[in-house]
């Protein structure tokens, strides 16, 4: 009986709650007209006006970057007098939101664009065409950015986004393990063979410690770099043929295969269950190759903070050192309500001043050439020169074509049988090349 009473009470409470909630919008106008002249009503109306007309929404997907980005937006607001607010939406929902917004006509005012998706959005005319605005601007000159990032957001001679950042891959290592094994820290003279020798010494027979963990789920921070260091390639310049059957590509992949077979790397199951960054963060592997986007994560983890550091990637036998890189772009909605303000914000975000600040705050390295030096000092526990110096290596943009996902997913899937040893690496590479050529022919 008592429970029933409680329930009735709760239901009643719920009802009154929702009635007030639904009536809220009308209430404000009513009170405003009834008690016209009261200050409260006046300010409330003003506030509402401000929030619908003035504020720009800026959508991003990485919460680690939010505080820094918001600080830069605030600088812009101080100059322009227009409010701008960041909204973090996790990666998957981000693309659902953009897709919904694209068909419904309410995209965020300004947002990040990624190279995997940019082609679709540009071809369908959903992004604001910035070509003429850039030509007229005295702040933006596309020659100041790494050219391949500019190219990612260009379609048929039109520019749809201003480069935001650049990432590089570097070699992260565990100093404590190196000291323990008596191995010299990685340096700029290392070749992949030196790396292999070190990994061998750092691997413990009892399976408690491995020399290296390859990120099988992400080609950009793992085997792509080795392929290009060995002189191979993934996709030809005209985006028509696959490079997986190139003998040098196969040689590089066989290098990875050798490390796996000899047990210098954890097996596929251990890697995919834990993730190689987690294995590194919990002191299970001595070295990983990782992108500059992990810096914040490694800084916030006490173990990596105290024990680890970063150096440039090893080079190929002939001295080629390649970093596969990528970069996001700042884009705006083509049918946005306030495209003038959105452009003004993008122009500011791409300016030298904002790009410099982005690096100084340690958000990411910046796409504006020469502004990333300050990024090195944003973290005191690691020598980020390892990542910065990779900018001077041969930069190769992350291989892409119109439908990158199609052949990339296929390759990741096929490589699984090579990682586990069901198929030889050579066989896997040739098989991938064949399917990839078919996929490219259909584009």
């Amino acid at each position: 009986m008592k429970a029933k009473k409680l329930m009735a009470l709760a239901l009643a409470a719920v009802m009154t709650f929702s009635v007030t909630a639904c009536g809220k919008g009308q209430d404000t106008t009513q009170t405003a007209s009834q008690e016209s002249g009261t200050q409260e009503a006046g300010t409330e109306a003003e506030e509402m006006k401000g929030s619908t007309e003035g504020k720009l929404t800026v959508a991003i997907w990485d919460s680690n970057q939010q505080p820094g980005i918001q600080e830069i937006l605030d600088d812009w607001s101080a100059q322009s007098g227009i409010e701008a607010e960041t909204q973090v939406i996790t990666w998957n929902e981000y693309w659902t939101l953009l897709e919904a917004g694209a068909s419904g006509g309410s995209l965020p005012d300004v947002f990040w664009m990624h190279s995997n998706q940019s082609q679709r959005y540009m071809e369908n005319g959903l992004l604001l065409d910035l070509t003429d605005k850039i030509a007229a601007s005295d702040k933006i000159d596309l020659n100041n950015y790494y050219e391949d990032i500019v190219g990612l957001y260009e379609s048929e001679g039109k520019q749809y986004a201003i480069p935001k950042d650049i990432d590089t891959i570097a070699l992260w290592y565990n100093k404590t393990m190196f000291d323990e094994a008596g191995v010299e820290y990685p340096n700029a003279d290392w070749t992949w063979e030196d790396f292999y020798e070190a990994a061998k010494k750092l691997t413990k027979e009892d399976g408690s410690q491995w020399g290296y963990a390859i990120n099988t789920g992400n080609n950009q921070d793992s085997y792509y770099n080795m392929i290009y260091d060995y002189g191979g390639y993934v996709i030809s310049e005209d985006k028509k043929t696959s490079g997986y059957d190139d003998p040098r590509t196969i040689e590089a992949m066989q290098f990875v295969e050798r490390m796996l077979r000899e047990g210098l790397c954890p097996d596929l199951q251990t890697i995919s269950e834990n993730g190689c960054d987690v294995l590194f963060q919990s002191g299970k592997v001595a070295m990983i190759t990782q992108g500059s986007w992990m810096v914040a994560g490694f800084r916030d983890n006490e173990y990596t903070h105290d024990n680890c550091d970063v150096a440039v990637l090893p080079m190929g036998a002939d001295g080629t050192r390649v970093s596969i890189y990528n970069g996001l772009g700042w884009a705006a909605a083509a049918n946005g309500k306030n495209t003038e303000a959105a452009w003004s914000l993008i122009e500011y975000l791409g300016s030298k001043e904002a790009q410099l600040k982005q690096a100084e705050l340690g958000v990411t390295m910046s796409a504006y050439k020469g502004t990333s030096d300050a990024w090195v000092n944003s973290v005191d526990c690691f020598d980020l020169k390892g990542h910065l110096d990779m900018l001077d290596a041969t930069l190769v943009i992350r291989p892409y074509s119109r439908n990158t996902n199609v052949w990339e997913d296929m390759a990741t899937e096929t490589f699984k049988s090579a990682w586990t040893g069901e198929m030889s690496m050579e066989e896997a590479c040739k098989q991938i090349a064949e399917s990839m050529n078919t996929a490219l022919a259909e584009e």
Partner: protein, 276 residues
């Protein structure tokens, strides 16, 4: 005989105990992780169960960074709106489908059932478009919107009405009730337990709804608990202690609701045969 009974009961209790421990582990894990450091939380070694030092930094940080009062308010308003709307529309529709005879009833009802059989995700984009065209993005109304009508609730209440004896309706008619009065004074009060079950289901579903609030209410101060928690995850790596601390704080209202409505929760599942 007595001894054998006792033994059986002990064995049953051991099995039940083992099951309840299994159920509790995720909660305990959440609580323990909230007090750990980031590296303890992500350690591959599963035997680090207790934090070496009990820290409360994670709690301090999330309380500082997140406006929980606002999130509670948004979530409660969404739940209240959806519960009210669901109970209201489902009772009326359920009565119509269960007790009234009109042309096209079965066809219409099969359309309702059809809605239950397709995955809810396919409605997201059309519903987003409606909300966007109505101009109510980033509002409580947007959160409530997909819960205004419910196929599951209609079905549940229809079953409840179909189970009631015909005599009641006839008696009401003889005493001069019209359809509205029969429904309001005679029939509806008899399905209270189904309404409560529906209310509880709606509460739980609304509370854990993630994708919808994330997409329609992308503004930070219009988020719900679930969507605010999801936003704490970084693209590469998350601060798990903070995430768990926030999750713990977000759980509190549900735990309180459960404590009060424990009996109805269980009855709701028993009568409807649904799962949470």
């Amino acid at each position: 005989m007595e001894a054998k009974k006792k033994l059986v009961s002990i064995i049953i209790h051991i099995i039940l105990l083992a099951c309840s421990v299994t159920m509790l582990i995720p909660f305990l894990w959440m609580i323990l992780t909230a007090f750990k450091s980031v590296s303890e939380a992500t350690s591959v070694n599963p035997f680090i169960i207790l934090p070496t030092v009990w820290r409360r930094d994670a709690f301090d940080n999330v309380i500082k960074n997140m406006n929980f009062l606002l999130l509670y308010k948004n979530t409660l308003l969404m739940i209240a709106g959806r519960v009210l709307a669901a109970v209201l529309t489902a009772t009326m529709a359920g009565y119509a489908f269960g007790r009234l005879h009109f042309k096209g009833r079965d066809l219409m009802f099969s359309l309702v059932l059809f809605q239950m059989m397709v995955p809810g995700q396919i409605f997201i984009i059309p519903q987003y478009l409606m909300v966007s065209k109505l101009g109510i993005l980033n509002s409580t109304m947007a959160l409530v919107f997909p819960g205004l009508v419910t196929a599951f609730g209609t079905f549940l209440l229809r079953q409840a009405y179909m189970g009631l004896p015909k005599d009641l309706e006839e008696a009401a008619r003889l005493d001069g009730c019209n359809i509205g009065q029969t429904f309001l004074y005679i029939m509806a009060p008899l399905t209270k337990s189904s309404m409560v079950a529906l209310g509880i289901f709606t509460t739980v579903f609304a509370y854990k709804d993630l994708m919808w609030p994330m997409i329609v209410n992308s503004e930070n101060d219009k988020a719900t608990l679930a969507s605010a928690l999801a936003k704490m995850q970084g693209q590469y790596g998350s601060k798990f202690p903070e995430l768990m601390a926030a999750a713990l704080i977000a759980c509190i209202p549900m735990i309180i609701i459960y404590l009060f409505f424990q009996k109805q929760f269980i009855e709701g599942i028993a009568t409807s045969g649904g799962k949470l």
